[in-house]
């Protein structure tokens, strides 16, 4: 029995007790506040808040664009991870280090930088707008911001799996007459798939909750380019605390579902690759 084993190392009760108290005070009790506060609403009132047309429009913007951004990142992130592991090219170490930039760069900085690039008079915007492509202050701008913040998730989940991949598998496939593309599709991709999906889910989860990098470039037009987190802020600014809380409950439930999905995907990754993480 685990509970009855003799513990040689000291500090178990202190460390675990401290962990549980701190976790409860900082994370669990505050998060419970959202659910308790929302119980002030009856089920009909709650539903009326979270299914109001303007709020539903924000779900469509947030989820639709987050899915699209995560999909773009899955494709280009896989290519970038592949290039970083398999190819030699000048500046590789620099590229590898800068992939984590979205983790380190404050989101507000990313937001204003992207807006400066894609606004009508910006570096890229001045060439795109004459072509009829309006990026900043619309849904496309949100997409660009979400691609920016999501990229490292895919690269950093796929890269270690790719590094650990046994070359013998590919050699066996080649010696049995497989084309390179067949080897990739039938041998490599199935091994990478759980990690790729994990990276996709992580990028998606991050994008759904993202606020700082998006609000500068979004334009924040109701029914067009409002994201769900902004809706919470808007309700708060109108002193509609209960309304803000109701939307927060929806977002939290989605976060928990995504967390569960990501844990399952990571267990699948570990099973398929034999890696213990």
């Amino acid at each position: 029995m685990a509970a009855q084993q003799h513990k040689v190392l000291p500090g178990f009760h202190l460390a675990l007790g401290y962990t549980l108290v701190y976790l409860s005070l900082v994370v669990l009790i505050p998060l419970a506040a959202v659910f308790i506060k929302s119980s002030a609403l009856s089920l009909e009132e709650f539903w009326a808040v979270v299914s109001a047309p303007r709020v539903v429009a924000t779900y469509q913007v947030s989820f639709g664009l987050s899915l699209l951004a995560a999909a773009i990142n899955a494709v280009f992130g896989l290519m970038l991870a592949w290039a970083l592991v398999r190819y030699r090219f000048p500046g590789k170490k620099l590229v590898d280090a800068l992939v984590d930039l979205p983790f380190a760069l404050p989101t507000a900085v990313a937001g204003i930088a992207l807006t400066a690039l894609y606004a009508g008079n910006g570096w890229l915007g001045q060439y795109l707008e004459p072509l009829g492509i309006k990026v900043a202050f619309g849904p496309l701008g949100i997409l660009v911001a979400l691609v920016f913040i999501g990229l490292p998730f895919v690269v950093r989940t796929v890269q270690p799996i790719l590094e650990d991949l046994d070359t013998e598998l590919e050699e066996a496939a080649a010696s049995l007459g497989a084309q390179r593309w067949q080897t990739f599709r039938l041998v490599i991709l199935p091994i990478l798939l759980p990690a790729l999906l994990t990276g996709f889910a992580l990028a998606f989860a991050r994008a759904v909750g993202e606020y700082g990098s998006v609000i500068f470039i979004a334009g924040n037009l109701p029914f067009v380019s409002e994201i769900t987190p902004l809706m919470i802020i808007t309700k708060l600014e109108q002193y509609d605390y209960v309304g803000a809380t109701a939307i927060a409950v929806v977002m939290l439930l989605i976060s928990f579902a995504l967390l569960l999905l990501i844990n399952l995907l990571q267990a699948w990754t570990a099973k398929r690759t034999g890696r213990n993480r």
Binding site: A2, A3, V8, L9, P10, F12, A15, L16, Y18, T19, Y22, L23, V26, L28, P30, L31, A33, F76, L80, Y87, K92, K93, V95, A97, V99, D100, F103, A104, L105, P106, T107, A108, V109, A116, L117, L124, V147, F148, P152, R156, T157, Q159, E163, T167, E170, A174, R180, G199, L202, Y211, P229, L230, I232, I233, A244, T245, A248, F256, L259, I262
Partner: protein, 297 residues
């Protein structure tokens, strides 16, 4: 672990291993295509925004740049950012070590659940992270009336900013240390205890040297987030210039006032901080790989 993407890991360069064998390399045009597409994507989505920050910051000359950084509101924003990080970092560091010690060195029921719960703040939207403290400490919150009675301000004041920052940076150190300490096992510590070392001696002389790179790694990532957090802090700050503005919030205010040069000047300091973070991070990865290689020899 959920939310995890950056963990201490040195990506050694083994590309020549693949490029030298026909079974593991692509046709030159495929390689060119993959390299071209992925690097263009990298340049447009990551490199260009970074360059834009510095170019926009210096657009109106060095003097404007400097003045934007030394004006009183900017200085107080820098100060508040430093104070916030100086509080959030140690408390989450102590928590991270305690959590990793309990989870990695002992067996108990509910361990998997605890590990998942520690990761929770990563999957919560920053806006929701700010909202929860408004619900607890705000005027209409649980402790609102009591706090008002005693004239204590938490929300729309500095304590709220610190709390929100502690929440969003909560998992960083723990998440770095748990897998590291699990992989290292507990034989070394047990040997030390059997030889007569007490708990603290064991930790300082056996555990800490083994985890120092992981610890440093968690701390720098935690610091970057603490100094750069925007969404959560924005909800609880109240945006009072010179009082409850951190650097990212100061950037927002300047930007919304169309004072772009100043906004980018302050932003460029944060971008520099991000670059320094990445440099230290890469250095730590390299040192940790060296230490690992030395053990394996």
């Amino acid at each position: 672990m959920a939310g995890a993407a950056t963990t201490l890991h040195w990506h050694g360069d083994h590309a020549s291993k693949y490029e030298s064998r026909s079974a593991t390399r692509e046709a030159p045009w495929v390689k060119g295509l993959i390299l071209g597409l992925s690097l263009t994507f990298f340049a447009v989505f990551l490199l260009l925004p970074l360059v834009a920050v510095f170019v926009e910051a210096l657009r109106k000359g060095l003097e404007t740049y400097w003045l934007a950084l030394v004006e009183p509101d900017a200085l107080s924003a820098i100060k508040l950012t430093l104070i916030t990080a100086a509080i959030a970092l140690p408390v989450n560091l102590v928590f991270g070590v305690a959590a990793a010690w309990a989870i990695a060195k002992f067996e108990f029921r509910g361990k998997q659940l605890l590990t998942t719960l520690i990761d929770l703040p990563f999957s919560v939207s920053p806006v929701v992270a700010g909202l929860i403290y408004v619900l607890i400490f705000g005027a209409q919150g649980w402790f609102g009336p009591w706090l008002a009675e005693h004239d204590i301000r938490i929300v729309f004041a500095v304590p709220g900013i610190v709390l929100a920052t502690v929440f969003v940076t909560f998992p960083f150190v723990a998440r770095e240390l748990i897998p590291l300490m699990q992989a290292q096992g507990k034989e070394e510590e047990e040997a030390a205890v059997v030889l007569g070392a007490n708990g603290w001696q064991t930790f300082w002389h056996v555990t800490l040297p083994n985890i120092k790179w992981g610890l440093l790694y968690g701390v720098i990532l935690c610091n970057a987030r603490a100094m750069g957090e925007f969404g959560a802090v924005s909800v609880v700050s109240g945006h009072i210039r010179g009082q409850t503005n951190t650097m990212p919030l100061h950037v927002e205010i300047l930007y919304n006032e169309y004072n772009f040069a100043a906004a980018f000047a302050v932003a460029s300091v944060l971008a520099l901080l991000a670059l320094v973070t990445l440099v230290i991070k890469t250095w730590v990865e390299w040192k940790a790989a060296q230490a690992q290689a030395a053990i394996e020899k």
